[in-house]
């Protein structure tokens, strides 16, 4: 459902079926809509069996990395010797992405149910749902839903807790999330060790995204084959995905489509196309950390993991940011660099200094004080920031810069040569 719009006939409505339906938020309302049946079923299955179903379905992490979920679950020790933990990543902060918020606002029990099933699959007794601090409404709704479910003893001895973040994008990185839960600064950890061996509190841990877990009850109920069959392009990208479309489209919102759906149709058909009189200039399909696509690439791009890679970008979180011909790409890339500079945790030199320097260089260009050599400097800096740090925030800053200069070089040059007037004061 293209919430807040009416569902579009070309959507495949699974996760978003009850977006906008206030009764679906309640425990009774959810049960009425077939909720918690999958959890009942899962409780009769062995943990490994649940994992096998999810593996078979081809479900991949919807937070951005696209790692096969069943495989991730299978990394947990089969022989349970220590407490196991599940962390639910509800820290949605990737610019352009707003799907997890909707899942929690409208179908909190879907997330809780998915969480419980996952806990059983990985033999965890405790789960922490890490909700970003700014999500005051989803947090309140989750609190209420959890209270209702606990009152009904829905999860037996399993303990699901909400943990509120306090304003840090980097806490969406799985190891930083664990550190934040432990009461530390949200610094990502060096891997290895991996969370399944040494996670939160030093115990085996799995971290899953909200959208990933919300899909699990559906997979359990309707079977792996059903989920697997939903693949329009590449068989390795299965199921549905909520694409958060925002920016310069007529009808922004969350649209649920089958993997492999053409980006062109999503923009021009489902979202109602550009504003009157405007044309598509650029699109970032996976949240701001993936390379920018120009118009031709956008119109060719199929929305699954492989399709995006083919166009030189990534599916990421599925946050589709749309720029039409009125957008100032240089300014927006600067604004994205500023985002990363603000959010850097400060551990790695390349990220800490590089994101800020990148921002400064583009600000100077916008202020009419850029030099042609600045573009080479930006590209060199971006290369220094890629593949050399503890986490990929540094790489994420480089992605829009490199793709922006590659595909919209003339816009940068217009500022440098003075053809375009300055918008910023140095």
């Amino acid at each position: 459902m293209g919430y807040p719009h009416k569902p579009h006939p070309r959507e495949t409505v699974v996760l978003s079926r009850y977006f906008g339906d206030p009764e679906a938020k309640t425990y009774k309302g959810w049960a009425k809509r077939g909720g918690y049946e999958a959890w009942q079923q899962a409780q009769t299955m062995a943990p490994a069996a649940i994992t096998d179903v999810v593996k078979e379905s081809g479900l991949r992490g919807r937070g951005g990395a696209g790692f096969p979920t069943g495989l991730k679950w299978s990394f947990m020790p089969k022989d349970k010797k220590k407490p196991h933990y599940l962390c639910v990543n509800a820290d949605e902060s990737e610019p352009g992405t707003f799907k997890d918020r909707e899942i929690m606002r409208w179908t909190p029990h879907a997330l809780l149910e998915g969480t419980a099933i996952a806990m059983r699959a990985i033999q965890a007794e405790v789960a922490y749902i890490y909700v970003r601090g700014e999500f005051t409404e989803p947090y309140a709704i989750m609190e209420r839903a959890l209270a209702e479910a606990n009152a009904a003893r829905a999860f037996g001895d399993l303990k699901i807790y909400l943990h509120r973040g306090a304003g840090a994008y980097i806490c969406g990185e799985e190891t930083a999330l664990m550190n934040s839960i432990e009461g530390k600064r949200g610094n990502p950890r060096i891997k290895p060790p991996f969370p399944a061996a040494f996670g939160v509190f030093g115990m085996p841990t799995t971290i899953n995204n909200v959208e990933t877990l919300a899909a699990v009850p559906h997979i359990m109920k309707q079977g792996a084959a059903w989920y697997k069959a939903m693949a329009l392009s590449n068989p390795k990208s299965t199921g549905t995905k909520l694409f958060s479309v925002c920016g310069h489209v007529q009808e922004p919102g969350n649209y649920e489509v089958t993997m492999g759906f053409p980006l062109k149709d999503l923009l021009y058909d489902l979202c109602g196309g550009m504003q009157p009189g405007r044309t598509l200039k650029a699109c970032i399909p996976g949240g701001s950390s993936v390379p920018i696509l120009n118009r031709e690439e956008s119109e060719r791009c199929l929305l699954d993991y492989e399709g995006c890679v083919e166009q030189g970008t990534m599916l990421g979180s599925g946050g589709v940011i749309v720029f039409d011909d009125t957008a100032d790409m240089v300014y927006q890339i600067m604004r994205l660099a500023r985002f990363y500079a603000h959010e850097s945790c400060a551990q790695c030199t390349q990220c800490r200094e590089g994101t800020a320097w990148t921002t400064k260089i583009i600000e100077r260009i916008l202020a009419g004080q850029g030099k042609t050599s600045d573009l080479d400097l930006l590209l060199d800096l971006s290369e220094n920031m890629t593949g050399k740090t503890i986490c990929v925030l540094s790489d994420s800053c480089a992605a829009p810069v490199v793709s922006g200069i590659k595909k919209f070089r003339h816009e940068f040059e217009d500022y440098i040569t003075g053809r375009k007037r300055t918008v910023l004061v140095a």
Partner: protein, 527 residues
């Protein structure tokens, strides 16, 4: 067992190391030293500076050597174009906000940012002069530590030291991104007894010692290996001297004793080494009465002392300082051997201050470096008994104890550095060198004998105590004079069982165990 070692190649050099060794340590064995900041063998791994990026065959991306364990058959290359370019990139980024403070920065000359930039950095900056550099004012962290945020490269060594080694997290990283700096809470100062180590650990001039501030330039300093004389722990130190004045003490690594650290008490324990009010010439009282001491040369002084000793019968008492070298203590004993001999020392005590995470390392209650050495040589701690014995002794030898007032009918020989009132009562006063002015050894509380080296010349005609005593023995016809501290030690090793077979060469730079370690007290056993 050689078979249990993991074999790998680093820059073409094959090495074999135990399983679990980090590539950075294995590289040292291959003689490969790559610039890095945040890694330190005495601290937990952080992996944040991102300097030591190396190419590891079969790994898709560059890896940091400080956080990668060795694997069989691993091929590591540290000097590939990509790795060097990555390091150049890090150095460039560290310098964009770093102020051009070298002319006024204490660290200049011993700064790892200078050194590594010279080695692998960019010749010129690409940071536009129009960008302001990040600025924060200097902060006073505590009794001796100043923090200059502008120079900080956020390697977090200081934070990790306080948190994981001292186990008192009073330093934090505050804020985020390029606004980050090292912070303290206003209610807690950096006054931990081992806090001064953060100054040594800081690779740049960000954490500074107030004591050393603007005192000397690194390249003006001569460095000499020594042993701290502040307590009985026997931490290995380096004395930094400039124009024969000791200006700073820094730790010297010894994994058996003090790892890489020294306490603040020891660190500040050097000003007395430079005192000018020293006895600079031998002194004797004229025969035939008169309480005045007259300056004489060594020959006359030694003759006079020998005459006193030859003429004495019965009891002899040695009142020695536990700061005296083992060699001197041995030769003093030898000197008084013909007598009914009592030797004793007293030790000033203070509060103990352990370094939490390092087993068996603390500022010790016993504030002297060679109490154990004295004990091994037969000196007792019952100073009062010795003072009493002196009241009926024929000869009393006082070795570097200026405050000891001796009541004796016999002759009083004083070997010391300062002419105190008590010393003026002596018949013969012989000037000696202090710990910075001679070679010698101390035996620490754990029974480890360690060498210290001469850092500056003794003043005037003062000589090492072992030389004085050996000369005296020679004049008495009881042995050859000793040409060096090494020879003195050899003589000691021949006579004193625990030292059998040892020599200065055998002691190397980190010493050898000669006596059993005392069993740790219950409170000392750490996890």
């Amino acid at each position: 067992m050689p078979e249990d070692l993991v074999k790998l190649t680093i820059d073409g050099v094959p090495v074999g190391v135990p399983k679990g060794t980090l590539v950075i340590e294995a590289a040292k064995q291959a003689g490969v030293l790559v610039p890095h900041y945040c890694y330190h063998p005495g601290l937990p791994v952080a992996g944040v500076c991102r300097m030591y990026l190396v190419e590891i065959e079969k790994a898709p991306k560059l890896q940091i050597a400080c956080a990668t364990q060795v694997a069989e058959g691993m091929v590591v290359r540290t000097q590939t174009a990509e790795a060097k370019s990555a390091r150049m990139g890090v150095l460039e980024l560290l310098l964009i906000n770093h102020p051009l403070d070298c002319p006024i920065c204490d660290q200049s000359g011993e700064c790892e940012l200078q050194d590594f930039t010279f080695q692998e950095g960019r010749p010129a900056t690409r940071y536009s002069p129009e960008y302001p550099k990040r600025f924060n004012p200097v902060e006073d962290f505590g009794p001796d530590v100043l923090y200059v945020p502008n120079r900080c490269i956020l390697c977090t060594r200081c934070v990790r030291f306080m948190e994981d080694v001292a186990r008192e997290p009073v330093l934090n990283v505050s804020e985020r991104g390029d606004r980050a700096y090292i912070g303290v809470h206003p209610e807690a100062r950096l006054d931990h007894p081992w806090a001064g180590n953060v100054v040594d650990l800081c690779p740049v001039g960000s954490l500074l010692s107030k004591d050393f501030l603007h005192k000397a330039r690194a390249w003006e300093l001569d460095k000499t290996a020594s042993i701290c004389s502040g307590c009985s722990q026997g931490c290995n130190v380096t004395l930094d001297t400039r124009d024969n004045v000791v200006v700073r003490i820094r730790p010297r690594p010894n994994l058996e004793v003090n790892q890489y650290f020294i306490c603040d008490h020891g660190r500040m324990n050097y000003r007395w080494m430079n005192r000018g009010d020293r006895i600079e010439a031998p002194l004797v009282k004229r025969r035939g009465g008169g309480a005045e001491l007259h300056v004489v040369d060594w020959d006359e002084a030694l003759d006079r002392a020998a005459m006193v000793l030859r003429g004495a019968r019965g009891r002899a008492v040695a009142l020695v300082s536990p700061k005296a070298s083992t060699e001197a203590l041995f030769l003093a004993r030898e000197l008084l051997a013909p007598f009914e001999w009592t030797g004793a020392f007293q030790v000033v005590m203070g509060e103990e201050a352990p370094l939490a995470a390092v087993p068996n390392l603390a500022l010790r209650a016993e504030r002297a470096p060679n109490g154990t050495g004295a004990e091994l040589l037969g000196y007792i701690r019952n100073y009062a008994a010795a003072l009493e014995a002196a009241e009926s002794a024929a000869v009393v030898l006082v070795l570097d104890e200026p405050e000891t007032t001796v009541k004796t009918p016999g002759a009083l020989l004083y070997l010391g550095t300062m002419l105190s009132d008590a010393a003026r009562a002596a018949d013969v006063v012989l000037p000696i060198a202090n710990v910075a002015e001679e070679d010698g050894t101390f035996v620490n509380r754990d029974g480890r004998v360690q060498r210290y080296f001469q850092a500056k010349p003794p003043p005037g005609m003062a000589r090492p105590a072992w030389w004085v005593l050996a000369e005296l023995l020679a004049v008495l016809g009881r042995g050859e004079p000793v040409a060096s501290a090494s020879d003195a030690f050899d003589r000691l090793a021949q006579s004193v069982a625990p030292f059998a077979g040892l020599s200065y060469a055998a002691l190397e730079m980190t010493g050898k165990q000669v006596a059993a370690r005392p069993a740790p007290a219950a409170a000392e056993v750490t996890a």
